[in-house]
Symmetry: C2
Subunit: 187 residues, 2 copies
Protein backbone atom coordinates (compact mmCIF):
# COMPACT_ATOMS: atom_id res chain seq x y z
CA UNK A 1 0.00 0.00 0.00
CA UNK A 2 2.95 2.31 0.63
CA UNK A 3 4.00 2.02 -3.01
CA UNK A 4 1.71 4.92 -4.02
CA UNK A 5 3.46 7.17 -1.50
CA UNK A 6 6.82 6.27 -3.07
CA UNK A 7 5.39 7.01 -6.51
CA UNK A 8 4.07 10.38 -5.33
CA UNK A 9 7.43 11.42 -3.88
CA UNK A 10 9.26 10.18 -6.99
CA UNK A 11 7.13 12.37 -9.24
CA UNK A 12 9.03 15.20 -7.50
CA UNK A 13 12.37 13.69 -6.51
CA UNK A 14 14.07 10.29 -7.09
CA UNK A 15 14.55 7.98 -4.08
CA UNK A 16 16.62 4.89 -3.37
CA UNK A 17 14.81 1.98 -1.71
CA UNK A 18 16.80 2.61 1.45
CA UNK A 19 15.76 6.25 1.51
CA UNK A 20 12.13 5.31 1.07
CA UNK A 21 12.34 2.71 3.83
CA UNK A 22 13.80 5.36 6.09
CA UNK A 23 10.98 7.78 5.21
CA UNK A 24 8.32 5.11 5.70
CA UNK A 25 9.70 4.26 9.16
CA UNK A 26 8.41 7.68 10.27
CA UNK A 27 4.80 6.78 9.43
CA UNK A 28 2.28 4.64 11.27
CA UNK A 29 -0.74 2.99 9.64
CA UNK A 30 -4.39 3.21 10.55
CA UNK A 31 -7.47 1.35 9.22
CA UNK A 32 -10.90 2.90 9.51
CA UNK A 33 -14.42 1.65 8.88
CA UNK A 34 -17.05 3.49 6.88
CA UNK A 35 -18.42 6.44 8.94
CA UNK A 36 -15.58 6.12 11.50
CA UNK A 37 -13.98 9.40 12.65
CA UNK A 38 -10.31 10.06 11.98
CA UNK A 39 -10.48 13.45 13.72
CA UNK A 40 -13.24 15.08 15.75
CA UNK A 41 -13.66 18.73 16.60
CA UNK A 42 -11.57 19.70 19.65
CA UNK A 43 -9.19 16.73 19.26
CA UNK A 44 -5.50 17.46 19.38
CA UNK A 45 -4.38 16.85 15.78
CA UNK A 46 -1.25 14.74 15.90
CA UNK A 47 -0.99 13.57 12.31
CA UNK A 48 -1.20 14.39 8.65
CA UNK A 49 -2.62 11.43 6.71
CA UNK A 50 -1.70 10.00 3.33
CA UNK A 51 -4.64 7.98 2.02
CA UNK A 52 -3.68 4.57 0.61
CA UNK A 53 -7.25 3.27 0.32
CA UNK A 54 -10.79 4.59 0.62
CA UNK A 55 -12.33 8.03 0.81
CA UNK A 56 -12.63 10.58 3.63
CA UNK A 57 -14.11 14.03 4.07
CA UNK A 58 -12.97 16.94 6.24
CA UNK A 59 -15.76 19.30 7.23
CA UNK A 60 -16.76 22.15 9.48
CA UNK A 61 -20.08 22.18 11.33
CA UNK A 62 -21.38 25.71 11.80
CA UNK A 63 -23.48 27.07 14.65
CA UNK A 64 -26.70 26.09 12.90
CA UNK A 65 -25.43 22.52 12.52
CA UNK A 66 -24.79 22.83 8.79
CA UNK A 67 -21.82 20.94 7.30
CA UNK A 68 -19.29 22.70 5.03
CA UNK A 69 -16.83 20.36 3.33
CA UNK A 70 -13.26 21.67 3.34
CA UNK A 71 -11.75 18.80 1.38
CA UNK A 72 -12.06 15.20 0.34
CA UNK A 73 -9.23 12.70 0.62
CA UNK A 74 -8.89 9.59 -1.54
CA UNK A 75 -6.00 7.39 -2.66
CA UNK A 76 -2.80 9.41 -3.19
CA UNK A 77 -4.21 12.51 -1.39
CA UNK A 78 -3.22 13.96 1.98
CA UNK A 79 -5.85 14.95 4.52
CA UNK A 80 -5.91 16.47 8.00
CA UNK A 81 -7.03 19.62 9.82
CA UNK A 82 -3.98 21.61 8.67
CA UNK A 83 -4.61 24.66 10.82
CA UNK A 84 -4.66 22.45 13.91
CA UNK A 85 -1.82 20.20 12.71
CA UNK A 86 0.69 22.90 11.76
CA UNK A 87 -0.10 25.11 14.76
CA UNK A 88 -0.62 22.17 17.16
CA UNK A 89 -4.05 23.50 18.06
CA UNK A 90 -7.30 21.70 18.70
CA UNK A 91 -9.29 20.63 15.64
CA UNK A 92 -12.05 22.85 14.30
CA UNK A 93 -12.80 20.30 11.58
CA UNK A 94 -14.16 16.77 11.67
CA UNK A 95 -12.79 14.07 9.38
CA UNK A 96 -14.65 10.83 8.81
CA UNK A 97 -14.83 8.04 6.26
CA UNK A 98 -17.19 8.15 3.28
CA UNK A 99 -15.74 4.70 2.46
CA UNK A 100 -13.66 2.40 4.67
CA UNK A 101 -10.10 3.71 4.52
CA UNK A 102 -6.45 3.03 5.19
CA UNK A 103 -4.07 5.89 5.90
CA UNK A 104 -0.38 6.44 6.61
CA UNK A 105 0.00 8.83 9.57
CA UNK A 106 2.84 11.37 9.87
CA UNK A 107 3.23 13.35 13.09
CA UNK A 108 4.43 16.95 12.89
CA UNK A 109 7.52 15.96 14.85
CA UNK A 110 8.40 13.23 12.35
CA UNK A 111 7.61 15.49 9.40
CA UNK A 112 10.00 18.16 10.71
CA UNK A 113 12.62 15.53 11.53
CA UNK A 114 12.42 14.06 8.02
CA UNK A 115 12.63 17.54 6.47
CA UNK A 116 15.67 18.41 8.58
CA UNK A 117 17.39 15.07 7.87
CA UNK A 118 16.70 14.92 4.14
CA UNK A 119 16.81 18.04 2.02
CA UNK A 120 14.97 16.21 -0.75
CA UNK A 121 11.99 15.55 1.53
CA UNK A 122 11.83 19.21 2.49
CA UNK A 123 11.84 19.86 -1.26
CA UNK A 124 9.02 17.35 -1.78
CA UNK A 125 6.82 18.90 0.91
CA UNK A 126 7.51 22.43 -0.34
CA UNK A 127 6.43 21.46 -3.85
CA UNK A 128 3.31 19.72 -2.55
CA UNK A 129 2.43 22.75 -0.44
CA UNK A 130 2.90 25.12 -3.39
CA UNK A 131 0.59 22.98 -5.53
CA UNK A 132 -1.94 22.84 -2.71
CA UNK A 133 -1.80 26.62 -2.34
CA UNK A 134 -2.56 27.11 -6.03
CA UNK A 135 -5.48 24.64 -5.84
CA UNK A 136 -6.97 26.55 -2.89
CA UNK A 137 -6.60 29.88 -4.72
CA UNK A 138 -8.48 28.38 -7.66
CA UNK A 139 -11.23 27.26 -5.29
CA UNK A 140 -11.46 30.72 -3.70
CA UNK A 141 -11.84 32.27 -7.13
CA UNK A 142 -14.56 29.82 -8.00
CA UNK A 143 -16.37 30.63 -4.71
CA UNK A 144 -16.05 34.39 -5.27
CA UNK A 145 -17.18 34.11 -8.87
CA UNK A 146 -20.12 32.18 -7.44
CA UNK A 147 -21.60 30.72 -10.59
CA UNK A 148 -22.81 27.34 -9.35
CA UNK A 149 -22.82 25.79 -12.83
CA UNK A 150 -19.20 26.71 -13.53
CA UNK A 151 -18.13 25.51 -10.07
CA UNK A 152 -19.82 22.20 -10.67
CA UNK A 153 -18.28 21.72 -14.10
CA UNK A 154 -14.82 22.71 -12.87
CA UNK A 155 -14.98 20.11 -10.10
CA UNK A 156 -16.23 17.49 -12.53
CA UNK A 157 -13.29 18.20 -14.87
CA UNK A 158 -10.73 18.21 -12.05
CA UNK A 159 -11.86 15.13 -10.15
CA UNK A 160 -14.06 12.93 -12.36
CA UNK A 161 -13.64 9.83 -10.15
CA UNK A 162 -14.82 11.70 -7.05
CA UNK A 163 -18.30 12.03 -8.56
CA UNK A 164 -18.73 8.30 -8.85
CA UNK A 165 -17.84 7.77 -5.20
CA UNK A 166 -19.40 10.68 -3.33
CA UNK A 167 -23.15 11.29 -2.73
CA UNK A 168 -24.60 14.41 -4.39
CA UNK A 169 -25.34 15.95 -1.00
CA UNK A 170 -21.62 16.02 -0.18
CA UNK A 171 -20.68 17.52 -3.55
CA UNK A 172 -23.24 20.27 -2.87
CA UNK A 173 -21.71 20.88 0.56
CA UNK A 174 -18.22 21.12 -0.97
CA UNK A 175 -19.37 23.56 -3.64
CA UNK A 176 -21.37 25.66 -1.23
CA UNK A 177 -24.61 25.25 -3.21
CA UNK A 178 -27.94 23.77 -2.19
CA UNK A 179 -28.78 20.15 -2.96
CA UNK A 180 -31.60 21.41 -5.20
CA UNK A 181 -29.28 23.63 -7.25
CA UNK A 182 -26.90 20.72 -7.73
CA UNK A 183 -29.69 18.38 -8.86
CA UNK A 184 -30.72 20.94 -11.46
CA UNK A 185 -27.12 21.24 -12.72
CA UNK A 186 -26.36 17.56 -12.87
CA UNK A 187 -29.60 16.34 -14.40
CA UNK B 1 14.36 48.21 2.48
CA UNK B 2 15.60 44.64 2.29
CA UNK B 3 15.92 44.51 6.09
CA UNK B 4 12.27 43.40 6.46
CA UNK B 5 12.94 40.41 4.19
CA UNK B 6 15.87 39.41 6.42
CA UNK B 7 13.62 39.78 9.47
CA UNK B 8 10.94 37.64 7.87
CA UNK B 9 13.38 34.84 7.05
CA UNK B 10 14.93 35.05 10.51
CA UNK B 11 11.58 34.54 12.18
CA UNK B 12 11.89 31.02 10.70
CA UNK B 13 15.64 30.38 10.44
CA UNK B 14 18.76 32.32 11.53
CA UNK B 15 21.00 33.81 8.80
CA UNK B 16 24.52 35.20 8.70
CA UNK B 17 24.98 38.54 6.92
CA UNK B 18 26.87 36.72 4.16
CA UNK B 19 24.04 34.26 3.68
CA UNK B 20 21.51 37.06 3.46
CA UNK B 21 23.65 38.95 0.94
CA UNK B 22 23.82 35.80 -1.15
CA UNK B 23 20.03 35.38 -0.96
CA UNK B 24 19.43 39.03 -1.79
CA UNK B 25 21.67 38.80 -4.86
CA UNK B 26 18.96 36.58 -6.40
CA UNK B 27 16.37 39.37 -6.23
CA UNK B 28 15.86 42.43 -8.39
CA UNK B 29 14.00 45.56 -7.29
CA UNK B 30 11.07 47.34 -8.89
CA UNK B 31 9.35 50.64 -8.09
CA UNK B 32 5.75 51.23 -9.12
CA UNK B 33 3.47 54.22 -9.10
CA UNK B 34 -0.07 54.27 -7.76
CA UNK B 35 -2.41 52.43 -10.22
CA UNK B 36 0.57 50.99 -12.16
CA UNK B 37 0.29 47.33 -13.16
CA UNK B 38 2.78 44.79 -11.85
CA UNK B 39 1.11 41.96 -13.79
CA UNK B 40 -1.62 42.01 -16.39
CA UNK B 41 -3.82 39.14 -17.52
CA UNK B 42 -2.07 37.01 -20.16
CA UNK B 43 1.41 38.19 -19.15
CA UNK B 44 4.04 35.54 -18.59
CA UNK B 45 4.60 35.65 -14.82
CA UNK B 46 8.31 35.68 -14.19
CA UNK B 47 8.47 36.73 -10.57
CA UNK B 48 7.16 36.36 -7.09
CA UNK B 49 7.26 39.73 -5.26
CA UNK B 50 8.12 40.61 -1.70
CA UNK B 51 6.61 43.99 -0.86
CA UNK B 52 8.99 46.39 0.91
CA UNK B 53 6.73 49.44 0.57
CA UNK B 54 3.20 50.26 -0.50
CA UNK B 55 0.09 48.24 -1.17
CA UNK B 56 -1.01 46.12 -4.14
CA UNK B 57 -4.03 44.04 -5.05
CA UNK B 58 -4.28 40.86 -7.14
CA UNK B 59 -7.66 40.38 -8.78
CA UNK B 60 -9.59 38.42 -11.35
CA UNK B 61 -11.96 40.10 -13.81
CA UNK B 62 -14.87 37.86 -14.73
CA UNK B 63 -16.78 37.73 -18.02
CA UNK B 64 -19.19 40.41 -16.85
CA UNK B 65 -16.27 42.71 -16.03
CA UNK B 66 -16.63 42.31 -12.27
CA UNK B 67 -13.47 42.33 -10.12
CA UNK B 68 -12.82 39.62 -7.51
CA UNK B 69 -9.85 40.30 -5.25
CA UNK B 70 -7.68 37.25 -4.65
CA UNK B 71 -5.24 38.92 -2.27
CA UNK B 72 -3.72 42.16 -1.09
CA UNK B 73 0.00 42.67 -0.66
CA UNK B 74 1.56 45.20 1.69
CA UNK B 75 4.91 45.52 3.51
CA UNK B 76 6.30 42.09 4.51
CA UNK B 77 3.80 40.17 2.29
CA UNK B 78 4.45 38.23 -0.90
CA UNK B 79 2.27 38.70 -3.97
CA UNK B 80 2.06 37.26 -7.46
CA UNK B 81 -0.24 35.15 -9.66
CA UNK B 82 0.94 31.89 -8.05
CA UNK B 83 -0.84 29.57 -10.46
CA UNK B 84 0.93 31.25 -13.37
CA UNK B 85 4.25 31.62 -11.52
CA UNK B 86 4.61 28.04 -10.25
CA UNK B 87 3.33 26.48 -13.48
CA UNK B 88 4.97 29.07 -15.74
CA UNK B 89 1.64 29.79 -17.38
CA UNK B 90 0.11 33.04 -18.51
CA UNK B 91 -1.51 35.21 -15.84
CA UNK B 92 -5.24 34.95 -15.21
CA UNK B 93 -4.96 37.66 -12.53
CA UNK B 94 -4.10 41.34 -12.67
CA UNK B 95 -1.93 42.96 -10.02
CA UNK B 96 -1.79 46.71 -9.62
CA UNK B 97 -0.89 49.29 -7.00
CA UNK B 98 -3.45 50.67 -4.53
CA UNK B 99 -0.53 52.79 -3.26
CA UNK B 100 2.86 53.45 -4.90
CA UNK B 101 5.00 50.40 -4.13
CA UNK B 102 8.46 48.91 -4.04
CA UNK B 103 8.97 45.19 -4.43
CA UNK B 104 11.80 42.67 -4.46
CA UNK B 105 11.37 40.29 -7.40
CA UNK B 106 12.34 36.61 -7.32
CA UNK B 107 12.19 34.55 -10.51
CA UNK B 108 11.14 30.90 -10.29
CA UNK B 109 14.57 29.91 -11.56
CA UNK B 110 16.29 31.85 -8.78
CA UNK B 111 13.85 30.57 -6.16
CA UNK B 112 14.57 26.96 -7.14
CA UNK B 113 18.31 27.67 -7.29
CA UNK B 114 18.28 29.19 -3.80
CA UNK B 115 16.24 26.28 -2.45
CA UNK B 116 18.63 23.75 -3.98
CA UNK B 117 21.73 25.63 -2.76
CA UNK B 118 20.53 26.36 0.76
CA UNK B 119 18.50 23.82 2.67
CA UNK B 120 17.46 26.51 5.16
CA UNK B 121 15.85 28.57 2.38
CA UNK B 122 13.90 25.55 1.19
CA UNK B 123 12.81 25.22 4.83
CA UNK B 124 11.80 28.89 4.94
CA UNK B 125 9.69 28.66 1.79
CA UNK B 126 8.06 25.41 2.94
CA UNK B 127 7.05 27.01 6.23
CA UNK B 128 5.71 30.10 4.45
CA UNK B 129 3.75 27.94 2.03
CA UNK B 130 2.25 25.88 4.88
CA UNK B 131 1.15 29.06 6.65
CA UNK B 132 -0.30 30.41 3.40
CA UNK B 133 -2.18 27.15 2.85
CA UNK B 134 -3.78 27.39 6.28
CA UNK B 135 -4.76 31.03 5.68
CA UNK B 136 -6.46 30.09 2.39
CA UNK B 137 -8.34 27.22 4.05
CA UNK B 138 -9.61 29.67 6.65
CA UNK B 139 -10.78 31.99 3.88
CA UNK B 140 -12.57 29.13 2.07
CA UNK B 141 -14.39 28.24 5.26
CA UNK B 142 -15.41 31.85 5.72
CA UNK B 143 -16.69 31.98 2.13
CA UNK B 144 -18.61 28.70 2.51
CA UNK B 145 -20.06 29.76 5.83
CA UNK B 146 -21.11 32.91 3.99
CA UNK B 147 -22.12 35.11 6.87
CA UNK B 148 -21.01 38.52 5.62
CA UNK B 149 -20.83 40.00 9.11
CA UNK B 150 -18.52 37.28 10.45
CA UNK B 151 -16.35 37.49 7.34
CA UNK B 152 -15.99 41.22 7.79
CA UNK B 153 -15.15 40.96 11.49
CA UNK B 154 -12.64 38.16 10.88
CA UNK B 155 -10.80 40.26 8.28
CA UNK B 156 -10.85 43.27 10.58
CA UNK B 157 -9.32 41.19 13.39
CA UNK B 158 -6.68 39.61 11.13
CA UNK B 159 -5.55 42.69 9.24
CA UNK B 160 -6.55 45.87 11.10
CA UNK B 161 -4.08 48.09 9.20
CA UNK B 162 -5.47 47.00 5.84
CA UNK B 163 -8.76 48.72 6.61
CA UNK B 164 -7.12 52.09 7.05
CA UNK B 165 -5.40 51.84 3.67
CA UNK B 166 -7.91 50.16 1.36
CA UNK B 167 -11.17 51.67 0.03
CA UNK B 168 -14.38 49.96 1.19
CA UNK B 169 -15.19 48.90 -2.36
CA UNK B 170 -12.04 46.75 -2.46
CA UNK B 171 -12.75 45.18 0.93
CA UNK B 172 -16.20 44.26 -0.39
CA UNK B 173 -14.65 42.70 -3.49
CA UNK B 174 -12.23 40.68 -1.33
CA UNK B 175 -15.02 39.43 0.92
CA UNK B 176 -17.36 38.62 -1.95
CA UNK B 177 -20.12 40.86 -0.59
CA UNK B 178 -21.83 43.87 -2.16
CA UNK B 179 -20.69 47.39 -1.36
CA UNK B 180 -24.09 48.02 0.21
CA UNK B 181 -23.82 45.03 2.54
CA UNK B 182 -20.37 46.18 3.64
CA UNK B 183 -21.59 49.72 4.34
CA UNK B 184 -24.32 48.31 6.53
CA UNK B 185 -21.80 46.15 8.46
CA UNK B 186 -19.19 48.82 8.96
CA UNK B 187 -21.44 51.71 9.90
Amino acid sequence: MSEILKQQIERITPLTNNEFDYILSHFTTKKLKKHQFLIQENDLVQNDHFVTKGLLKAYYINQEGKEHIMQFGMEDWWITDYQAYFNQNKATLNIDCVEAAEVLCLSLHNREKLCADMHKIEHFFRKKSNAGYVALQRRILSLLNSNAKERYEQLLRQYPTLFQRVPKSLIASYLGVSRETLSRLSS
